[in-house]
Protein backbone atom coordinates (compact mmCIF):
# COMPACT_ATOMS: atom_id res chain seq x y z
CA UNK A 1 0.00 0.00 0.00
CA UNK A 2 1.14 3.53 -0.70
CA UNK A 3 1.23 4.26 3.02
CA UNK A 4 4.27 2.07 3.40
CA UNK A 5 6.22 3.82 0.68
CA UNK A 6 6.69 6.92 2.79
CA UNK A 7 10.31 7.24 1.79
CA UNK A 8 9.61 7.15 -1.92
CA UNK A 9 6.98 9.91 -2.05
CA UNK A 10 8.25 13.39 -1.34
CA UNK A 11 6.04 15.53 0.87
CA UNK A 12 5.32 18.90 -0.66
CA UNK A 13 7.02 21.68 1.37
CA UNK A 14 4.83 22.75 4.28
CA UNK A 15 4.74 26.32 3.02
CA UNK A 16 2.66 25.25 0.03
CA UNK A 17 0.12 23.15 1.91
CA UNK A 18 -2.39 25.98 1.93
CA UNK A 19 -2.59 25.71 -1.84
CA UNK A 20 -4.30 22.33 -1.53
CA UNK A 21 -8.04 22.71 -0.90
CA UNK A 22 -8.07 19.34 0.89
CA UNK A 23 -5.90 20.87 3.60
CA UNK A 24 -8.66 23.29 4.61
CA UNK A 25 -11.51 20.79 4.31
CA UNK A 26 -12.85 18.03 6.52
CA UNK A 27 -11.71 15.15 4.33
CA UNK A 28 -14.32 12.45 3.74
CA UNK A 29 -12.15 9.38 3.74
CA UNK A 30 -12.99 5.78 4.50
CA UNK A 31 -12.12 4.99 8.10
CA UNK A 32 -9.84 2.26 6.76
CA UNK A 33 -7.78 4.95 5.03
CA UNK A 34 -7.86 7.29 8.00
CA UNK A 35 -6.31 4.55 10.13
CA UNK A 36 -3.58 3.83 7.59
CA UNK A 37 -2.44 7.23 6.30
CA UNK A 38 1.02 8.33 7.35
CA UNK A 39 1.95 11.29 9.54
CA UNK A 40 3.96 14.15 8.06
CA UNK A 41 7.69 14.24 8.66
CA UNK A 42 7.67 18.04 8.56
CA UNK A 43 4.86 18.86 10.95
CA UNK A 44 3.51 16.29 13.44
CA UNK A 45 -0.27 16.30 13.60
CA UNK A 46 -0.63 16.67 9.85
CA UNK A 47 -1.27 13.54 7.81
CA UNK A 48 -0.91 12.64 4.16
CA UNK A 49 -3.32 10.76 1.92
CA UNK A 50 -1.21 10.23 -1.19
CA UNK A 51 0.36 13.68 -1.31
CA UNK A 52 -2.59 15.64 0.09
CA UNK A 53 -1.89 17.17 3.50
CA UNK A 54 -4.82 16.99 5.90
CA UNK A 55 -5.65 17.03 9.58
CA UNK A 56 -9.44 17.21 9.67
CA UNK A 57 -11.83 14.43 8.72
CA UNK A 58 -15.55 13.76 8.35
CA UNK A 59 -16.95 10.31 9.10
CA UNK A 60 -20.40 8.76 9.18
CA UNK A 61 -20.94 5.36 10.74
CA UNK A 62 -22.62 3.09 13.26
CA UNK A 63 -21.75 3.41 16.91
CA UNK A 64 -20.35 0.03 17.99
CA UNK A 65 -18.65 1.08 21.18
CA UNK A 66 -19.45 3.64 23.81
CA UNK A 67 -17.59 4.88 26.85
CA UNK A 68 -18.83 7.76 28.93
CA UNK A 69 -16.76 10.00 31.14
CA UNK A 70 -17.79 13.08 33.05
CA UNK A 71 -16.63 15.47 30.33
CA UNK A 72 -16.93 13.49 27.14
CA UNK A 73 -18.23 10.49 25.27
CA UNK A 74 -15.94 8.15 23.42
CA UNK A 75 -17.83 6.55 20.54
CA UNK A 76 -16.34 3.81 18.42
CA UNK A 77 -17.60 4.41 14.88
CA UNK A 78 -17.80 1.69 12.23
CA UNK A 79 -18.39 2.64 8.59
CA UNK A 80 -17.94 -0.97 7.37
CA UNK A 81 -14.34 -0.31 6.26
CA UNK A 82 -12.86 0.41 9.67
CA UNK A 83 -13.56 1.38 13.27
CA UNK A 84 -12.21 4.50 14.96
CA UNK A 85 -12.67 6.18 18.32
CA UNK A 86 -14.26 9.61 18.36
CA UNK A 87 -13.89 11.82 21.42
CA UNK A 88 -17.01 13.92 21.73
CA UNK A 89 -17.01 16.59 24.38
CA UNK A 90 -20.17 17.14 26.36
CA UNK A 91 -21.69 20.55 26.07
CA UNK A 92 -21.67 22.41 29.38
CA UNK A 93 -24.98 24.06 28.57
CA UNK A 94 -27.10 20.99 28.79
CA UNK A 95 -25.12 19.19 31.41
CA UNK A 96 -26.50 21.02 34.42
CA UNK A 97 -30.03 21.54 33.16
CA UNK A 98 -31.79 18.51 34.60
CA UNK A 99 -34.92 19.34 36.52
CA UNK A 100 -33.97 22.85 37.49
CA UNK A 101 -35.89 24.47 34.66
CA UNK A 102 -39.35 23.00 34.57
CA UNK A 103 -41.82 25.60 33.44
CA UNK A 104 -45.45 25.38 34.27
CA UNK A 105 -47.43 25.11 31.09
CA UNK A 106 -49.59 28.19 30.70
CA UNK A 107 -51.92 26.55 28.26
CA UNK A 108 -51.74 28.31 24.92
CA UNK A 109 -49.29 31.01 26.00
CA UNK A 110 -45.71 30.77 24.68
CA UNK A 111 -43.63 29.78 27.65
CA UNK A 112 -39.96 30.62 27.16
CA UNK A 113 -38.70 28.43 29.98
CA UNK A 114 -40.57 25.45 28.64
CA UNK A 115 -39.26 25.98 25.12
CA UNK A 116 -35.73 26.42 26.42
CA UNK A 117 -35.99 23.17 28.33
CA UNK A 118 -37.25 21.39 25.22
CA UNK A 119 -34.39 22.84 23.20
CA UNK A 120 -31.85 21.62 25.73
CA UNK A 121 -33.47 18.19 25.70
CA UNK A 122 -33.38 18.06 21.91
CA UNK A 123 -29.72 19.08 21.85
CA UNK A 124 -28.86 16.54 24.50
CA UNK A 125 -30.67 13.71 22.71
CA UNK A 126 -28.79 14.47 19.50
CA UNK A 127 -25.50 14.04 21.30
CA UNK A 128 -26.24 11.05 23.47
CA UNK A 129 -26.00 7.97 21.35
CA UNK A 130 -26.38 4.26 21.95
CA UNK A 131 -24.80 1.34 20.21
CA UNK A 132 -26.52 0.93 16.85
CA UNK A 133 -27.16 4.64 16.29
CA UNK A 134 -25.77 6.45 13.27
CA UNK A 135 -23.22 9.13 14.11
CA UNK A 136 -21.85 11.98 12.00
CA UNK A 137 -18.54 13.37 13.24
CA UNK A 138 -16.28 16.15 12.03
CA UNK A 139 -13.04 16.75 13.83
CA UNK A 140 -9.27 16.69 13.88
CA UNK A 141 -7.26 13.56 13.52
CA UNK A 142 -4.92 12.70 16.36
CA UNK A 143 -2.61 9.85 17.21
CA UNK A 144 -2.57 9.10 20.91
CA UNK A 145 -0.61 6.14 22.32
CA UNK A 146 -0.23 4.83 18.77
CA UNK A 147 -4.01 4.80 18.31
CA UNK A 148 -5.69 7.03 15.76
CA UNK A 149 -8.62 9.01 17.15
CA UNK A 150 -10.84 11.81 16.06
CA UNK A 151 -11.23 14.80 18.38
CA UNK A 152 -14.71 15.86 17.39
CA UNK A 153 -15.41 19.54 16.75
CA UNK A 154 -19.00 18.70 15.86
CA UNK A 155 -21.03 15.51 16.15
CA UNK A 156 -24.66 14.47 16.11
CA UNK A 157 -26.98 11.50 15.78
CA UNK A 158 -28.35 11.04 12.29
CA UNK A 159 -31.91 9.86 11.85
CA UNK A 160 -31.78 7.44 8.94
CA UNK A 161 -34.86 5.18 9.12
CA UNK A 162 -34.60 3.82 5.57
CA UNK A 163 -30.81 4.10 5.20
CA UNK A 164 -31.02 6.94 2.66
CA UNK A 165 -28.14 8.84 4.21
CA UNK A 166 -25.84 5.85 4.40
CA UNK A 167 -26.69 4.75 0.86
CA UNK A 168 -26.07 8.22 -0.55
CA UNK A 169 -22.73 8.37 1.18
CA UNK A 170 -21.71 4.93 -0.11
CA UNK A 171 -22.54 6.03 -3.64
CA UNK A 172 -20.75 9.39 -3.31
CA UNK A 173 -17.46 8.30 -1.78
CA UNK A 174 -15.88 6.44 -4.73
CA UNK A 175 -16.58 9.43 -6.96
CA UNK A 176 -15.15 11.79 -4.38
CA UNK A 177 -11.98 9.75 -4.26
CA UNK A 178 -11.69 9.68 -8.04
CA UNK A 179 -12.36 13.40 -8.45
CA UNK A 180 -10.38 14.67 -5.55
CA UNK A 181 -8.35 12.53 -3.16
CA UNK A 182 -6.78 10.20 -5.70
CA UNK A 183 -5.78 13.07 -7.93
CA UNK A 184 -2.32 14.26 -6.87
CA UNK A 185 -1.84 17.66 -5.26
CA UNK A 186 -0.30 19.72 -8.00
CA UNK A 187 0.94 23.22 -7.49
CA UNK A 188 -0.12 24.99 -10.71
CA UNK A 189 3.42 25.32 -12.03
CA UNK A 190 2.35 24.03 -15.44
CA UNK A 191 0.43 27.25 -15.98
CA UNK A 192 3.43 29.22 -14.85
CA UNK A 193 5.52 27.45 -17.43
CA UNK A 194 3.02 28.12 -20.18
CA UNK A 195 2.76 31.72 -19.07
CA UNK A 196 6.41 32.51 -19.74
CA UNK A 197 6.23 31.46 -23.35
CA UNK A 198 3.32 33.44 -24.73
CA UNK A 199 2.42 37.11 -24.99
CA UNK A 200 0.07 37.11 -22.05
CA UNK A 201 2.88 35.65 -19.99
CA UNK A 202 3.59 38.66 -17.83
CA UNK A 203 0.03 39.08 -16.59
CA UNK A 204 -0.28 35.34 -15.97
CA UNK A 205 2.74 35.37 -13.75
CA UNK A 206 1.45 38.46 -11.98
CA UNK A 207 -1.89 36.86 -11.18
CA UNK A 208 -0.15 33.64 -10.13
CA UNK A 209 2.14 35.62 -7.89
CA UNK A 210 -0.76 37.58 -6.47
CA UNK A 211 -2.58 34.39 -5.68
CA UNK A 212 0.44 32.78 -4.13
CA UNK A 213 1.09 35.83 -1.94
CA UNK A 214 -2.51 35.85 -0.75
CA UNK A 215 -2.46 32.17 0.06
CA UNK A 216 0.81 32.34 1.93
CA UNK A 217 -0.33 35.39 3.92
CA UNK A 218 -3.49 33.57 4.97
CA UNK A 219 -1.63 30.41 5.85
CA UNK A 220 0.77 32.31 8.09
CA UNK A 221 -2.12 34.14 9.73
CA UNK A 222 -4.40 31.17 10.27
CA UNK A 223 -1.67 28.89 11.51
CA UNK A 224 -0.23 31.73 13.64
CA UNK A 225 3.27 31.10 12.38
CA UNK A 226 5.81 33.32 14.16
CA UNK A 227 8.79 32.41 12.02
CA UNK A 228 9.77 29.98 9.33
CA UNK A 229 12.34 28.84 6.86
CA UNK A 230 11.23 28.27 3.26
CA UNK A 231 12.31 24.65 3.26
CA UNK A 232 12.34 23.11 6.69
CA UNK A 233 13.90 19.96 5.47
CA UNK A 234 16.21 19.97 2.49
CA UNK A 235 15.00 16.50 1.60
CA UNK A 236 11.36 17.55 1.44
CA UNK A 237 11.91 19.57 -1.71
CA UNK A 238 12.71 16.63 -3.86
CA UNK A 239 13.20 16.42 -7.58
CA UNK A 240 9.43 16.26 -7.95
CA UNK A 241 9.17 20.02 -7.42
CA UNK A 242 10.48 21.86 -10.48
CA UNK A 243 12.41 25.12 -10.50
CA UNK A 244 9.31 27.04 -11.51
CA UNK A 245 7.80 26.33 -8.13
CA UNK A 246 10.96 27.30 -6.29
CA UNK A 247 11.06 30.54 -8.28
CA UNK A 248 7.44 31.26 -7.48
CA UNK A 249 8.22 30.75 -3.82
CA UNK A 250 11.26 33.03 -4.03
CA UNK A 251 9.26 35.78 -5.73
CA UNK A 252 6.44 35.41 -3.22
CA UNK A 253 8.82 35.81 -0.29
CA UNK A 254 10.49 38.83 -1.95
CA UNK A 255 7.14 40.52 -2.40
CA UNK A 256 6.02 39.80 1.15
CA UNK A 257 9.28 41.27 2.43
CA UNK A 258 8.78 44.39 0.34
CA UNK A 259 5.30 44.75 1.76
CA UNK A 260 6.63 44.36 5.27
CA UNK A 261 4.58 41.26 6.13
CA UNK A 262 7.71 39.26 6.79
CA UNK A 263 11.29 40.27 7.53
CA UNK A 264 14.66 38.79 8.28
CA UNK A 265 15.87 39.83 11.69
CA UNK A 266 19.46 38.85 11.00
CA UNK A 267 21.09 38.72 7.60
CA UNK A 268 22.95 35.45 7.68
CA UNK A 269 23.22 32.32 5.54
CA UNK A 270 20.34 30.95 7.57
CA UNK A 271 17.20 31.99 5.68
CA UNK A 272 14.89 32.59 8.62
CA UNK A 273 11.85 34.81 8.15
CA UNK A 274 9.87 36.41 10.95
CA UNK A 275 6.19 37.10 10.44
CA UNK A 276 5.78 40.72 11.40
CA UNK A 277 2.37 40.55 13.05
CA UNK A 278 3.26 37.39 14.99
CA UNK A 279 6.66 38.53 16.26
CA UNK A 280 5.86 39.26 19.88
CA UNK A 281 9.37 40.55 20.61
CA UNK A 282 9.20 43.09 17.82
CA UNK A 283 5.78 44.31 18.87
CA UNK A 284 6.90 44.62 22.48
CA UNK A 285 10.02 46.56 21.46
CA UNK A 286 7.98 49.04 19.40
CA UNK A 287 5.44 49.47 22.15
CA UNK A 288 8.15 50.05 24.74
CA UNK A 289 9.91 52.65 22.60
CA UNK A 290 6.72 54.62 22.05
CA UNK A 291 5.61 54.27 25.65
CA UNK A 292 8.91 55.45 27.09
CA UNK A 293 9.54 58.24 24.63
CA UNK A 294 6.01 59.60 24.74
CA UNK A 295 6.64 60.51 28.34
CA UNK A 296 9.53 62.79 27.38
CA UNK A 297 8.68 66.43 26.99
CA UNK A 298 10.00 66.45 23.45
CA UNK A 299 7.36 63.97 22.27
CA UNK A 300 4.65 64.54 24.80
CA UNK A 301 2.38 66.65 22.63
CA UNK A 302 2.59 65.13 19.19
CA UNK A 303 3.97 61.68 19.87
CA UNK A 304 6.93 59.93 18.27
CA UNK A 305 7.68 60.30 14.61
CA UNK A 306 7.87 57.03 12.72
CA UNK A 307 11.48 57.60 11.73
CA UNK A 308 12.41 58.08 15.35
CA UNK A 309 10.66 54.84 16.25
CA UNK A 310 12.41 53.12 13.38
CA UNK A 311 15.90 54.12 14.49
CA UNK A 312 15.16 53.25 18.14
CA UNK A 313 13.77 49.84 17.30
CA UNK A 314 16.67 49.18 14.95
CA UNK A 315 19.04 49.80 17.85
CA UNK A 316 17.07 47.65 20.26
CA UNK A 317 15.86 44.80 18.17
CA UNK A 318 17.09 44.42 14.62
CA UNK A 319 19.36 46.55 12.46
CA UNK A 320 17.66 45.06 9.45
CA UNK A 321 14.14 46.19 10.12
CA UNK A 322 12.60 47.90 7.11
CA UNK A 323 10.25 50.86 7.29
CA UNK A 324 7.57 48.75 5.61
CA UNK A 325 7.78 46.06 8.27
CA UNK A 326 7.60 48.72 10.98
CA UNK A 327 4.51 50.19 9.34
CA UNK A 328 2.80 46.80 9.29
CA UNK A 329 3.64 46.32 12.97
CA UNK A 330 2.44 49.82 13.89
CA UNK A 331 -0.85 49.25 12.11
CA UNK A 332 -1.30 45.96 13.94
CA UNK A 333 -0.59 47.59 17.31
CA UNK A 334 -2.99 50.40 16.53
CA UNK A 335 -5.74 47.93 15.60
CA UNK A 336 -5.22 46.28 18.97
CA UNK A 337 -5.45 49.69 20.66
CA UNK A 338 -1.94 49.34 22.06
CA UNK A 339 -0.87 52.62 20.48
CA UNK A 340 -2.60 55.56 18.83
CA UNK A 341 -1.58 57.53 15.78
CA UNK A 342 -1.82 61.27 16.28
CA UNK A 343 -0.96 62.15 12.71
CA UNK A 344 -0.08 60.17 9.62
CA UNK A 345 3.41 59.58 10.93
CA UNK A 346 3.25 60.13 14.68
CA UNK A 347 2.41 57.62 17.35
CA UNK A 348 1.79 57.73 21.06
CA UNK A 349 0.24 55.79 23.91
CA UNK A 350 -2.41 56.95 26.29
Amino acid sequence: MASEQSGAEDEPPSLLWGLDPVFSAYARLYIKDILQIRESRQVPGIYFYKNHPLFQVDVLGTVVYKREREDFYCYGVDDSTGVINCLCWKDEKWRDQGDSVKGKGHGGVFNVEEQLRKLCEAQRSRCMLEIGDLLQVRGSLKTSREQREIMASSFYKVSDPVMDVQIARMLDMPQLYRDCYNKPFQVPCAELEAGTTDAGGASNIQSMLGQSVRILKEFLKVKEVPKFRPYDEATSVGPSFPTQVKNLLKETLKLLQREGEIFRKVLSPDELYHVTEQDKDLLAAIRDVIQEDSKREKYAEKGCHILHVLSSVRQRYSRNLSREALEVALKFLECNSDIISTTDSHYTVL
Binding site: M1, A2, I31, K32, T62, V64, Y65, G76, D78, D79, S80, T81, G82, V83, I84, N85, I131, G132, P161, V162, M163, D164, I167, M170, L171, M173, P174, Y177
Partner: protein, 137 residues
Protein backbone atom coordinates in the same frame (compact mmCIF):
# COMPACT_ATOMS: atom_id res chain seq x y z
CA UNK B 1 -11.04 -2.51 22.80
CA UNK B 2 -12.79 -1.70 19.57
CA UNK B 3 -14.51 -4.49 17.65
CA UNK B 4 -13.50 -5.28 14.06
CA UNK B 5 -15.20 -3.35 11.29
CA UNK B 6 -18.38 -5.02 10.12
CA UNK B 7 -18.12 -5.41 6.36
CA UNK B 8 -21.28 -5.33 4.28
CA UNK B 9 -22.40 -8.72 3.02
CA UNK B 10 -25.51 -9.90 1.22
CA UNK B 11 -27.49 -12.47 3.10
CA UNK B 12 -26.86 -15.20 0.54
CA UNK B 13 -23.10 -14.79 0.95
CA UNK B 14 -23.11 -15.58 4.64
CA UNK B 15 -23.54 -19.32 4.36
CA UNK B 16 -20.85 -19.53 1.67
CA UNK B 17 -17.09 -19.59 1.90
CA UNK B 18 -17.03 -15.83 1.33
CA UNK B 19 -17.68 -15.28 5.00
CA UNK B 20 -15.36 -16.95 7.47
CA UNK B 21 -16.13 -18.15 10.95
CA UNK B 22 -15.67 -15.29 13.39
CA UNK B 23 -15.92 -12.55 10.74
CA UNK B 24 -17.68 -9.31 11.62
CA UNK B 25 -20.39 -8.55 9.12
CA UNK B 26 -23.39 -6.36 8.55
CA UNK B 27 -26.29 -7.48 6.43
CA UNK B 28 -29.93 -6.74 5.73
CA UNK B 29 -33.01 -8.91 5.24
CA UNK B 30 -36.62 -9.51 6.19
CA UNK B 31 -37.50 -10.60 9.65
CA UNK B 32 -39.13 -13.90 9.04
CA UNK B 33 -39.81 -15.42 12.37
CA UNK B 34 -39.14 -14.56 15.89
CA UNK B 35 -38.79 -16.93 18.76
CA UNK B 36 -38.41 -15.12 22.04
CA UNK B 37 -39.46 -18.01 24.15
CA UNK B 38 -38.23 -16.63 27.43
CA UNK B 39 -39.77 -13.19 27.08
CA UNK B 40 -43.31 -13.67 25.90
CA UNK B 41 -44.11 -16.37 28.30
CA UNK B 42 -43.99 -16.32 32.01
CA UNK B 43 -40.99 -18.56 32.11
CA UNK B 44 -38.43 -15.86 32.60
CA UNK B 45 -36.11 -18.01 34.68
CA UNK B 46 -35.52 -20.50 31.98
CA UNK B 47 -32.35 -19.78 30.06
CA UNK B 48 -34.07 -19.96 26.72
CA UNK B 49 -32.15 -18.95 23.65
CA UNK B 50 -33.33 -15.77 21.91
CA UNK B 51 -33.41 -16.33 18.22
CA UNK B 52 -34.61 -14.47 15.15
CA UNK B 53 -34.58 -15.69 11.61
CA UNK B 54 -33.79 -13.35 8.75
CA UNK B 55 -34.58 -14.33 5.19
CA UNK B 56 -33.85 -12.91 1.79
CA UNK B 57 -34.64 -13.83 -1.80
CA UNK B 58 -31.89 -14.04 -4.33
CA UNK B 59 -31.67 -15.81 -7.69
CA UNK B 60 -35.08 -17.34 -7.01
CA UNK B 61 -33.93 -19.00 -3.84
CA UNK B 62 -34.77 -18.17 -0.28
CA UNK B 63 -31.78 -17.72 2.01
CA UNK B 64 -31.87 -17.46 5.73
CA UNK B 65 -29.64 -16.80 8.67
CA UNK B 66 -30.27 -17.26 12.36
CA UNK B 67 -29.65 -14.24 14.47
CA UNK B 68 -28.93 -14.50 18.14
CA UNK B 69 -30.50 -11.45 19.69
CA UNK B 70 -29.15 -11.63 23.23
CA UNK B 71 -27.16 -8.39 22.97
CA UNK B 72 -29.87 -6.32 21.38
CA UNK B 73 -32.77 -7.12 23.65
CA UNK B 74 -35.24 -5.77 24.47
CA UNK B 75 -36.46 -4.66 21.05
CA UNK B 76 -39.81 -4.43 19.35
CA UNK B 77 -39.95 -7.11 16.65
CA UNK B 78 -42.03 -6.39 13.54
CA UNK B 79 -42.34 -9.69 11.76
CA UNK B 80 -42.09 -9.27 8.01
CA UNK B 81 -40.25 -5.96 8.22
CA UNK B 82 -36.75 -5.35 6.87
CA UNK B 83 -33.87 -5.20 9.30
CA UNK B 84 -30.20 -4.45 9.10
CA UNK B 85 -27.99 -6.28 11.53
CA UNK B 86 -24.34 -6.16 12.51
CA UNK B 87 -22.44 -8.84 14.36
CA UNK B 88 -20.12 -11.85 14.37
CA UNK B 89 -20.67 -15.01 12.37
CA UNK B 90 -20.52 -18.34 14.11
CA UNK B 91 -20.09 -21.28 11.80
CA UNK B 92 -20.04 -24.20 14.16
CA UNK B 93 -18.80 -27.52 12.82
CA UNK B 94 -21.62 -29.75 11.78
CA UNK B 95 -24.22 -26.99 11.58
CA UNK B 96 -25.50 -26.26 8.10
CA UNK B 97 -26.62 -22.79 9.01
CA UNK B 98 -24.49 -19.94 10.28
CA UNK B 99 -25.54 -17.99 13.34
CA UNK B 100 -25.04 -14.23 13.55
CA UNK B 101 -24.55 -12.89 17.07
CA UNK B 102 -26.10 -9.48 16.63
CA UNK B 103 -24.57 -6.42 18.27
CA UNK B 104 -26.87 -4.12 16.34
CA UNK B 105 -30.34 -4.88 14.98
CA UNK B 106 -32.16 -1.94 13.43
CA UNK B 107 -35.46 -1.87 11.61
CA UNK B 108 -35.10 -0.20 8.22
CA UNK B 109 -38.45 -1.06 6.74
CA UNK B 110 -38.93 0.84 3.51
CA UNK B 111 -35.28 0.79 2.50
CA UNK B 112 -34.61 0.88 -1.24
CA UNK B 113 -33.05 -2.57 -1.49
CA UNK B 114 -31.98 -2.22 -5.13
CA UNK B 115 -30.20 1.05 -4.40
CA UNK B 116 -28.53 -0.40 -1.32
CA UNK B 117 -27.28 -3.33 -3.35
CA UNK B 118 -25.98 -0.94 -5.99
CA UNK B 119 -24.20 1.12 -3.33
CA UNK B 120 -22.53 -1.93 -1.81
CA UNK B 121 -21.37 -3.09 -5.23
CA UNK B 122 -20.02 0.40 -6.06
CA UNK B 123 -17.99 0.35 -2.86
CA UNK B 124 -16.71 -3.17 -3.55
CA UNK B 125 -15.70 -2.29 -7.11
CA UNK B 126 -13.89 0.78 -5.91
CA UNK B 127 -11.80 -1.19 -3.43
CA UNK B 128 -11.12 -3.91 -5.98
CA UNK B 129 -9.92 -1.32 -8.51
CA UNK B 130 -7.72 0.26 -5.92
CA UNK B 131 -6.19 -3.03 -4.80
CA UNK B 132 -5.51 -3.92 -8.42
CA UNK B 133 -3.74 -0.61 -9.01
CA UNK B 134 -1.69 -0.96 -5.87
CA UNK B 135 -0.80 -4.52 -6.77
CA UNK B 136 0.34 -3.48 -10.22
CA UNK B 137 2.79 -0.93 -8.84
Amino acid sequence: MLPSPAVFHFLWEINTHLVEDGASVRTFAHLHHLGLFGRLRLTSYLPEESKAILTSHHASMQHQVSVQTTFVEPFDPIVGAQYVTLGEIDKAEGCSEAILRARVLNCVDGVDVALLQKAINEQRNFFKERDNEAGAQ
